[in-house]
């Protein structure tokens, strides 16, 4: 099976214009025989119907559509139909990066609108078109901070999502950058301003803090930012955009760079494979940021239009001196985020955040009442994710929940022995009261 719209007759005519007898001849003119490959050892092609059947079979091997109380970086939020409808339009999905601006005003204006909404949400001045995901956006933020501060020592909260931390470590490993980790308080799960203060010195380029942090705890960003600024370090925040409907904005606590994972805005979970990283900065850093940026301009007739801009930062122009090697990014996922944000609007995003927090608190309070469950950080302020220690058998709990099609909390012990017996719950707006009650009930009986 193939998608080739050329038949034998066409092929003959084409070969004859070229002046060869066969495609084989065309190839042999260019490729020495001894370099040629043998027949590919792959299964035979499939008809559309058989292909669907094969992938239905694969699909059937998953236990899917679970009621999800698991987060840790990827969250089960509701995706409005509008997002799928728009993002699925082939004019968006089958276009390339908008090199020809005049023929790409759809994509370009959408990116401009996306950038605008990210700026609104974070309060910062300039957002790029997207990075691959939250993890790489943190890594790029670190590089940006090093570039800007001209200091190669970066403090990072150890409560940064461990996947992100791993990526930052990979990205920086060959670049003579020193990562200094600071630990969170054992009691609160939050960073302690004094601890940060004790690590600050003039050679620190930036302080990177995630809030809500990996444990779900909201940090006192104001205090941390002020502490970072005492030594003129940049303050880099890693934020869950859903939380920005209600939590203090990066701008409000004077962050220089805000990054994060956008999957929560209009993208399904897909094994964590439908992601985009957002990256926003203060005006001063505008010309230093990585990735594509869209700007407004006018056409010959003075009509408003949009183009890729600040391009001299980029690899296709500056090559090894570019601010990043990124080329293809996560445009369509960021576009889903764009449609999602517009679909909710300011008031909807606020309600979204409020609903998340309300449901998470409802679940937290219900679980707290159960025998055998104790909050790991009892007095901390969390957003939509929290941790309980339990004396119960975690494997058994997971099984009991799965039997009822519930993907229960994450066993933090699997990440870090320090957190043995700790379960991390994520509760989004998508979880109904009924589902939460059922979870609580099963936990109770387990």
């Amino acid at each position: 099976m193939n998608y080739i719209p050329v038949n034998e007759q066409d092929r003959k005519e084409m070969l004859s214009r070229i002046g060869v007898n066969s495609i084989e001849e065309l190839l042999s003119l260019q490729i020495p025989e001894y370099l040629r490959a043998k027949k590919l050892n792959l299964s035979e092609g499939l008809s559309e119907q058989d292909l669907l059947a094969l992938f239905k079979k694969y699909a059937g091997k998953n236990k899917s559509n679970l009621v999800c109380f698991r987060g840790a970086g990827v969250y089960d939020h509701f995706v409005p139909s509008l997002v799928e409808e728009i993002v699925g339009r082939s004019e968006f999905s089958t276009a390339y990066t908008p090199y020809q601006a005049e023929a790409s005003q759809g994509t370009l204006q959408a990116v401009f609108e996306y950038q605008s909404m990210i700026c609104e949400l974070t309060g910062l001045d300039c957002a790029n078109a997207s990075m691959y995901d939250g993890a790489t956006s943190v890594a790029e933020a670190v590089l940006l901070a090093v570039r800007t501060s001209r200091k190669n020592k970066i403090i990072i909260s150890s409560a940064l999502n461990p996947e992100y931390l791993a990526v930052v470590e990979t990205y920086t490993k060959n670049l003579d950058i020193e990562i200094v980790k600071i630990e969170t308080d054992e009691k609160t799960g939050a960073l302690n301003k004094n601890v940060l203060e004790s690590k600050m010195s003039d050679d620190i380029g930036a302080v990177v803090v995630q809030s809500p942090n990996f444990f779900g705890v909201v940090e006192d960003m104001q205090a941390l930012s002020e502490t970072a600024k005492t030594k003129a370090a940049l303050f880099v925040t890693v934020v869950n955009p859903v939380s920005l409907g209600i939590l203090k904005t990066p701008c409000e606590y004077n962050a220089d760079i805000a990054v994060g994972e956008g999957q929560v805005f209009g993208n399904q979970m897909y094994l964590g494979g439908l992601t985009f990283g957002f990256l926003a900065v203060k005006k001063a850093l505008e010309w230093k940021i990585p990735g594509r940026v869209v700007g407004q301009t006018v056409d010959k007739n003075g009509k408003r239009g949009f183009v890729l801009t600040l391009q001299s930062r980029e690899q296709h122009i500056r090559r090894e001196k570019a601010t990043s090697n990124i080329c293809t990014n996560s445009a369509l996922n960021a576009f889903a985020g764009c449609v999602y944000m517009s679909c909710l609007g300011s008031s909807g995003i606020k309600e979204l955040a409020e609903t998340n927090i309300s449901k998470a608190r409802y679940a937290f309070n219900a679980i707290k009442k159960l025998d055998g469950f104790e909050p790991l950080f009892s007095d901390s302020f969390f957003f939509n994710e929290f941790i309980f220690k339990t004396a119960k058998n975690i494997k058994k709990i997971e099984k009991a929940l799965l039997k009822e099609n519930i993907l229960g909390p994450l066993n933090l012990g699997a990440f870090n022995k320090k957190y043995k017996n700790s379960l991390m719950f994520a509760v989004t707006e998508k979880r109904t009261k009924q589902e939460i009650d059922k979870l609580t009930d099963i936990l109770n009986r387990a």
């Binding site: 214009r17 003119l29 370099l35 908008p98």
Partner: protein, 475 residues
């Protein structure tokens, strides 16, 4: 009709999406609380549908027009793959689900890995990289780790001057210094030139085969030998793999590491700028350096393995990679099968040569009269007074075509890089050839028309200089 979102006024009263069925419980200490409201308009679904649907109509796209964008392999993106990617059994999966609940997902990734190995000749693949550049970066980190492990200090990478910008940029990011290698007018690397600049500092050379001029690197074996003898490795930028599926396997011809752009050769749509996927393949001796986690098959069960990989470069991206892209690519391989993939490459080569043959008398073709899946022409000396390749590109938009890649590779003046792909018909190519020929004529008779182009697009030529001079980056 030409409104930005924030200029639309269709204020809805209520939110139809979010509903709270537990008591509202939102008291927050002021120190955590957002003070300023953001200014994202609250618009109705109907308004937004219209807004974005109309925006979509201002895009040229593969689904509406021929898109001969060289180096980008804008081939047809089969609809059935999109349909498969929407299966809820895949879309609803959390990355930390227990292995035994995601056997289907893991099998898809495993099958894709096997397929890519077969096409490329490589022994192992990681599916984690999110795009071509990310793949390059991954591959170069693997190479760096390999030498670190061997305790060799090799800090340099050779990149031909015809290479894509991401090659040097990725090399820099991976901590290497770049040695630029001058290629000949065909973009071909000469073994002699290579030898001259080679030394023990060189970790690897990056090559694209066929190169960015669409020329197959005939001396690849010699080049490979020179490099390997020097202890250096050979990196394959897979952006042009669409030329050689079933025809040449990169691993067979001397490459050690490579990435593949699934959003090019394996037909996943480009989404206006991503997401793509840039799986990286390596020969067996580099296996241990691959990013974690890896997917393994044991007793017909698929497992995610992260541990025991001390030598791994670590993680390139959170979780597993751009799964929906991987899924579509896997479906593509399964639907075409081995024979279909080879046919695709063969037809891609035929289509490119057909266009080349038809245009060769009207422009210069610096790399000669045959090509692989794409070719580069130079319009220099063939256009009317003061008309540039840029103008030809803009004029093509007027005729309803997306423009070819222009001014790349950098070594060809007034370059225009045409890659028709295998999924275009002879009729489409014939018409395109006619139009391009007509435009070249037009440039001589009426150069103004080209300089003022486009006129049939939603906006006329945009002022890019002004955009960069006074950046306006949000509303």
């Amino acid at each position: 009709m030409n409104k930005l979102l924030n200029e639309i006024k269709s204020n809805r009263n209520e939110n139809r999406i979010v509903k709270c069925d537990v008591p509202y419980d939102i008291s927050i200490d002021d120190k955590y609380k957002r003070q300023k409201n953001h200014n994202i308009p609250n618009l109705s679904e109907s308004t937004l549908l219209r807004h974005f649907t109309n925006l979509s109509r201002r895009n040229y796209s593969l689904s509406t027009t021929f898109y001969p964008l060289g180096s980008c392999t804008m081939k047809y993106n089969p609809l059935v793959n999109e349909k498969i990617a929407k299966f809820e059994e895949f879309s609803s999966i959390h990355p930390y689900q227990p292995e035994d609940t995601i056997q289907g997902t893991l099998e898809v990734m495993y099958e894709l890995e096997r397929g890519l190995c077969e096409v490329s000749g490589m022994d192992y693949f990681t599916l984690q990289p999110a795009a071509g550049a990310h793949g390059e970066y991954t591959g170069l980190l693997i190479i760096a780790e390999y030498f670190k492990n061997k305790k060799e200090k090799r800090k340099k990478i050779i990149v031909p001057d015809s290479a894509h910008g991401t090659n040097p940029a990725s090399a820099a990011l991976a901590g290497f210094e770049i040695i630029s290698l001058k290629s000949d007018e065909n973009g071909i690397v000469s073994p002699e030139n290579l030898k001259e600049i080679l030394n023990k500092d060189v970790a690897c050379m990056m090559l694209t085969v066929p190169n960015t001029l669409g020329v197959f690197e005939k001396k690849i074996s010699e080049i490979s030998e020179i490099l390997h003898k020097n202890g250096s490795l050979l990196y394959y930028d897979g952006a042009n793999l669409n030329a050689v599926m079933g025809i040449v396997k990169p691993a067979d011809i001397g490459f050690d590491v490579m990435h593949i752009n699934l959003h090019k050769t394996f037909s996943t749509p480009h989404g206006g700028g991503g997401p793509g996927a840039g799986p990286v393949g390596v020969k067996a001796f580099l296996k241990d350096f691959l990013p974690i986690p890896v997917i393994i098959k044991e007793n017909d069960k698929f497992k995610v393995s992260s541990g025991g990989k001390k030598k791994s470069i670590g993680k390139m991206k959170a979780f597993f990679g751009n799964f929906p892209v991987l899924l579509k690519a896997c479906a593509y391989i399964k639907s075409l099968g081995g024979a279909g993939l080879k046919e695709a490459s063969e037809q891609a080569v035929l289509n490119a040569n057909y266009v080349l043959s038809s245009l060769k008398d009207k422009v210069s073709i610096p790399a000669g009269n045959v090509c692989m899946h794409e070719f580069v022409l130079s319009s220099k000396g063939h256009l009317g007074e003061g008309v540039k390749t840029l103008d030809v590109a803009k004029r093509l938009l007027d005729y309803g075509y997306y423009a070819p890649t222009i001014y790349f590779p950098l070594i060809v003046e007034e370059a225009m890089m045409i890659e028709p792909t295998e999924t275009e018909s002879k009729q489409v190519l014939d018409e395109f050839i006619d139009v391009l020929s007509k435009i070249i004529e037009e440039s001589k008779i009426n150069p103004e028309v080209l300089r003022n182009a486009p006129v049939n697009t939603y906006v006329s030529r945009l002022n890019e200089v002004e955009a960069a001079r006074k950046p306006k980056l949000h509303w």
